[in-house]
């Protein structure tokens, strides 16, 4: 593939890329930057001890701040299921899980949330980690604008 095809005929002004790398060089020249931010004397030594204490004496269980919202999210999802299945079928987490795996709903977040207002929903439990952070965030932002998403689970 020749270079003309590679760039689909687009051109840049002469010396353009040279100019961009010059920008970085110029920044480099002005910043033999000693960090402008400072820390109190002895901070890192003390912090190291504090962090170790924190980790060795941490409480066994930490309350996950998302839990109060989990009920609402679960309610939304159960409602979708109720609309499509007789109640007697909804008797286990396994059912809910398999339903969620099989179905792809086209409902928007707001449509899901409107379903919350129906009172007679009874649900048992849904494992919170089954939902992606993005889904939870979207639902909760719509449900409560003051909501702060707290990340509790990190996978690499």
């Amino acid at each position: 593939m020749n270079s003309k095809n590679k760039h689909n005929g687009y051109k840049v002004p002469e010396g353009y890329f040279q100019k961009q790398s010059n920008l970085i060089d110029e920044l480099d020249s002005i910043s033999g930057v000693e960090f402008s931010y400072k820390v109190p004397e002895g901070y890192f030594e003390q912090s190291e001890k504090n962090l170790l204490k924190l980790i060795t004496k941490r409480p066994k269980k930490k309350i996950i701040q998302l839990i109060p919202y989990a009920a609402s999210i679960a309610a939304c999802l159960i409602m979708i299921i109720l609309l499509n299945n007789p109640p007697e079928e909804i008797n286990s987490n396994a059912f809910v899980e398999s339903y969620l795996e099989e179905q792809e709903t086209n409902l928007t977040t707001n449509e899901l949330l409107e379903l919350i207002s129906i009172d007679e929903i009874i649900f048992k439990s849904i494992v919170f980690e089954d939902f992606s952070s993005e889904t939870i965030f979207e639902l909760q932002q719509a449900y409560d604008p003051d909501f702060n998403l707290i990340y509790e689970d990190y996978e690499d």
Binding site: Q20, L23, I24, E26, L27, I30, S31, V33, E34, F35, S36, Y37, K38, V39, P40, Y43, F44, S47, E48, N50, L51, L52, L54, I55, T56, R58, K62, D146, N148, L149, I150, Y151, E152, D153, Y154, E155, D156
Partner: protein, 179 residues
């Protein structure tokens, strides 16, 4: 065995976990602190976020499967924690995130833990004024000299997107420094 693998094994084994954490704190406390500090600006806030970051690292280390580098995983946690901290604090003060960041930048001059020559300060102010994403990319690329691939793992953004952000950031900083 690679150093990271040994450390991860130590961290995931209850018998060696504490020793592993000592190493983790010794090796990464400072880079993580500086990364966080450049997001939240204030020392006390950075200290709080650093603690939260290590708690999250400790809680989640069992889920680390070695599919990314340990340090990029920790940087990702630190970044999320710092951004969450800013969101929460700005809401408490009834400010938008931009307003909150502007306040923080304006307070830098009076901050006893912020000093340096005029040019260094000017550069830090220019960086601080960048939009959040560009500031993160610039800090990681320029100051911490990470590769785009590493930054991509931390910020979960494509390399192409990062390059564009970095390019815009450099241009804005240059303009700001020429004022």
């Amino acid at each position: 065995m690679e150093k990271q693998t040994i450390l991860v094994h130590a961290l995931q084994n209850p018998k060696t976990q504490e020793a592993g954490f000592k190493t983790l704190i010794k090796e990464y406390q400072q880079p993580l602190y500086w990364h966080i500090r450049k997001i939240v600006f204030d020392h006390e806030d950075a200290d709080d976020v650093l603690q939260n970051t290590y708690i999250k690292i400790f809680k989640n280390i069992k889920k680390f499967r070695g599919e990314s580098k340990l340090f990029t995983w920790m940087y990702r946690i630190a970044t999320n924690e710092a951004l969450t901290f800013i969101t929460q604090k700005s809401k408490k003060l009834g400010l938008s995130i931009n307003e909150y960041n502007e306040n923080q930048i304006n307070q830098l001059e009076a901050d006893v833990f912020f000093e340096g020559d005029v040019i260094a300060q000017k550069l830090q102010f220019a960086v601080a004024k960048l939009p959040e994403k560009q500031r993160l990319v610039f800090n990681l690329k320029y100051f911490e000299e990470l590769k785009y691939e590493e930054i991509s793992e931390i910020l979960e953004t494509s390399v192409g997107g990062l390059k564009a952000s970095y390019h815009h950031a450099v241009k804005k900083i240059k303009n700001e420094l020429e004022k």
